[in-house]
């Protein structure tokens, strides 16, 4: 008895989204993740195309207008493989997966302030982040806390001012009110749980209220609640009498965690099976089909059998691709071929944060238009699908296309299998 129709390997955005789509279509899905995916480190926003040409410093506003030139520049990129219609379908389908209503700014990107007050162009954002849109000239007060290290309201506010966006900004750094006043140091998640307490919010409002009267909106670090986020925002806006928005913190990110929990909730509610903390160590391919994968439980290897297998293990950062000091590059579950240069000198450019990305980040599994891995042009296994950053020519830093690739490839696989 096979218990599952599809096994999804990887619990990042690509894996979770694929699993949710398929489970919602009535499949029995098992999602296996070696730990929690990088989603909880991300901004919680969905970037589709932020820069084009990718080395440009000017963020893309109307991203659909720039898509064809991006595809022309990157003919092997997954966007070019699947096309604009699929991207739009994927965004639409994603919006149906979470309770939080991810918002699109018409056909333009939201331009939201980053943790250092730079412009972060993004396609879909939760309302709490979208309200910080820098295309809107409403003035803003950025509030932070001494105890929350690495979030500097003055830096954010000054950087926004320095960009001459026509937005009047000011900063306000407070000490935590009760019941957090005794803390010397607080993490974003701890602060998010404090924000869920009504007495904490009340104390905070009593300090801020008089000082925010000259500003149209108030930006807080992105810690406005976790499970009760929507209620926290509504309550703060009511008490302060103006819109409240969130500015990203350093990772781990609370909006990223909310997105992770929301997708997990959707999947588990639909009776999806989830095993987090377990590594898939091997896969068996016979006669052009995957017959099983093996997971490493605490005490033995265990086979997991399904009709279809989706590999969403990420790139080099996610562990989907391994390398060594001999210049070898491999995919550790199925030993799929990775398109790469074995001379390590060529893997990196001298600039760490190069806008064109690092050559090594483009390494990945080459696929056909069904996202099956191929060797030469022949599929290695026709019931194995690759989604997300593991794909070749999908450097997520290039043009900020990572999450767009995750959603689009997940949707494509869901369409093929569902």
């Amino acid at each position: 008895m096979s218990l599952y129709d599809t096994v999804v390997i990887g619990a990042g955005l690509a894996g979770l989204t694929t699993a949710c789509h398929l489970q919602n279509k009535g499949q029995r899905v098992m999602l296996i993740g070696h730990g929690v995916g990088a989603l909880v480190l991300g901004s919680g926003c969905i970037d589709v195309l932020g820069y084009q040409p990718v080395e440009s410093v000017e963020p893309v506003r109307a991203w659909p207008d720039k898509l064809s030139s991006f595809m022309a520049d990157h003919p092997q990129h997954p966007y070019s493989l699947l096309g604009e219609t699929k991207i739009n379908e994927a965004l639409h389908a994603f919006q149906g997966l979470t309770e939080t209503e991810y918002q699109q700014n018409g056909s333009e990107n939201w331009l939201v302030p980053s943790a250092v007050g730079a412009i972060h162009p993004t396609c879909l954002a939760p309302p709490s982040i979208a309200k910080g849109h820098l295309g809107d000239t409403a003035s803003m007060l950025i509030v932070g806390f001494e105890e929350l290290r690495d979030f500097y309201p003055a830096l954010i506010s000054q950087n926004i001012s320095a960009q001459n966006l026509g937005i009047e900004t000011e900063s306000l750094t407070l000490n935590l009110p009760e019941p957090g006043a005794s803390k010397l140091n607080i993490t974003p998640i701890e602060l998010a749980t404090l924000f869920e307490q009504a007495d904490f919010r009340q104390q905070l409002v009593s300090v801020i209220k008089a000082r925010c009267q000259d500003y149209d909106r108030i930006g807080f670090p992105a810690v406005l609640g976790l499970g009760r986020h929507a209620k926290v925002v509504v309550d703060l806006e009511k008490q302060l009498g103006r819109p409240v928005f969130e500015v990203g913190t350093l990772p781990p990110s609370v909006p990223g965690r909310r997105l992770f929990e929301a997708l997990k909730h959707t999947f588990v509610q639909a009776k999806g099976r989830m095993n987090i903390g377990t590594k898939v160590v091997a896969g068996e391919v016979k006669d052009g089909r995957v017959t099983q994968v093996q997971i490493e439980t605490t005490n033995r290897l265990k086979p997991i059998i399904a009709e279809n297998y989706v590999l969403a293990t990420g790139g080099i950062l996610g562990g989907g691709i391994q390398t060594d000091d001999q210049g070898r590059v491999w995919e550790p579950v199925f030993n799929l071929p990775i398109d790469h240069n074995s001379n390590r000198q060529t893997w990196f450019t001298p600039k760490f944060l190069s806008p064109v990305g690092q050559p090594v980040s483009s390494y990945g599994v080459v696929v056909n238009d069904r996202l099956n891995p191929i060797e030469d042009t022949r599929p290695i296994a026709d019931n194995l699908y690759i989604v997300g950053s593991l794909l070749a020519h999908a450097d997520w830093t290039q043009g900020r296309t990572g999450y767009g690739v995750a959603l689009t490839t997940a949707k494509h696989v869901a369409d093929l299998l569902g």
Binding site: M1, H34, V36, P252, R273, G277, T278, Q294, T298, N299
Partner: protein
């Protein structure tokens, strides 16, 4: 098959793996952001700080770096969520051993809490009296004052008849007992023997219903986890050795060893090897042959060998998957198994830990933390308005029952009911 890593081919000892896994840490803080304890108390700075970060200062010849380590509950959520394979919880358990070794002193309270078997042995013969007496608030306040065991911590009721006593004197002589070539070994652990004999009986009924002869080795003892988590590694190792010697005979004969207590089977599977460094051939064999009972039954189902003559149970029942069960890294077999019962709706509660973490929540200074950790779980259970809820692990059941008033059962009790065996 392309196997990048085979459990049998590990040449490095596991001890080294746990310690060396600190090098895999990229300081992403995912573990701290998910840590149930660090998010409710300032006493514990979080798994990253006391684990991989402090590890570099833990020179074997120097004193331990930080007392806050003792506030780690050992739930293991850190090791589960880590995307890089850092064995954070295991590292912390070993560091705690070192911490107490440096102190050269383990509180009497911890030594007593570590000996659940001795407590059961003492209490069980006096069950009717002991069960009433231990509910008396003044006595509990006295115990808290003298010993530091929190007055509100959930005390399980002793069984008047031990499970082993029932097995030897009643079951073994019963004409209905199944004798078969298909044999399975039952590791009952202290909780079934002294407190919840009915769970052991349900397990035997379900296994026998599926045609298995159930062997209950006489010389099995407490798994040692309560001692391990109270830094008494030497005493825990003695228990571990007794169990390995007892169970390896059956493992060599190819029999599988099943248990209903997810933390005790985790000790056999993993802790002996990964934390107590008992990584010899016998320990490995016992580890490989050990199964959580639902894991065992689900594999039967997958092989088409599980009886499915279930009577329908038309109910929606909340289920909590304990941290110590998830740490088996095998998925959640109980849910998949219980959903084979017609009519059943299993409501999977989304919570990482109930807070009790074995003996942690019994300690005076940690009880409030343990209740804060379990808060969301308790609220979710209460919100279902179900009069019964399910959980695989005994201390978690006691904690949830104590906090919510909901009657708690083990998955195998539900199966026994569906089979019409109760």
């Amino acid at each position: 098959m392309t196997t990048s890593h085979d459990l049998d081919e590990i040449t490095l000892s596991i001890w080294e793996q746990v310690q060396h896994s600190a090098d895999l840490c990229v300081k992403c803080n995912i573990c701290t952001s998910f840590c149930p304890v660090a998010n409710v108390t300032d006493m514990f700075p979080g798994p990253k700080f006391v684990g991989p970060q402090a590890q570099r200062f833990r020179n074997p010849h120097e004193i331990s770096v930080d007392d806050s380590l003792d506030y780690c509950s050992g739930c293991g959520v850190c090791s589960m969520v880590c995307p890089h394979g850092v064995k954070v919880m295991e590292m912390n358990a070993k560091a705690r051993y070192k911490l107490y070794k440096t102190k050269k002193w383990i509180p009497l309270r911890n030594r007593i809490l570590g000996r659940s078997e001795l407590l059961g042995w003492l209490g069980s013969p006096f069950a009717p009296i002991a069960n009433v007496t231990l509910k008396l608030k003044p006595l509990r306040i006295l115990i808290e004052g003298i010993m530091g065991v929190h007055r509100d911590a959930p005390m399980p009721a002793f069984s008047w008849e031990t499970f082993r006593g029932w097995y030897q004197t009643v079951h073994k002589k019963s004409p209905q007992r199944v004798i078969s070539d298909k044999k399975v070994v039952f590791y009952h652990a202290c909780s079934v023997n002294y407190y919840e004999a009915f769970i052991g009986k349900a397990a035997i009924a379900v296994l026998e219903h599926n045609g298995y002869e159930v062997i209950v080795p006489k010389d099995q003892v407490c798994c040692g986890l309560p001692m391990l988590s109270n830094a008494e590694f030497d005493a825990a190792r003695q228990n571990a050795r007794t169990n390995i010697n007892s169970l390896v005979r059956y493992a060599r004969a190819g029999h599988k060893i099943v248990g209903t207590s997810s933390s005790c089977t985790l000790s056999l599977k993993s802790d002996y090897r990964h934390i107590l460094d008992m990584d010899d051939a016998d320990a490995r064999l016992v580890s490989q042959q050990t199964y959580d009972i639902c894991e065992f039954l689900l594999e039967l189902a997958q092989a088409g060998e599980l009886k499915t003559d279930f009577q329908p149970i038309n109910a929606s029942i909340p289920y909590h998957s304990p941290c110590q069960l998830r740490a088996h890294n095998m998925g959640l077999p109980a849910i998949e198994l219980m959903e084979l019962i017609p009519g059943i709706q299993i409501k999977h509660i989304q919570a990482d830990c109930c807070g009790i973490a074995g003996t942690y929540g019994y300690k005076k200074e940690k009880h409030d933390i343990s209740m804060a950790v379990g808060k969301s779980l308790f609220e979710q259970v209460k919100a279902t308005e179900s009069d019964v809820a399910i959980c695989d692990s005994e201390t978690c059941r006691w904690q949830i029952e104590h906090a919510t008033g909901t009657k708690m059962i083990h998955p195998v009790q539900l199966l026994a009911q569906a089979y019409g065996l109760t």
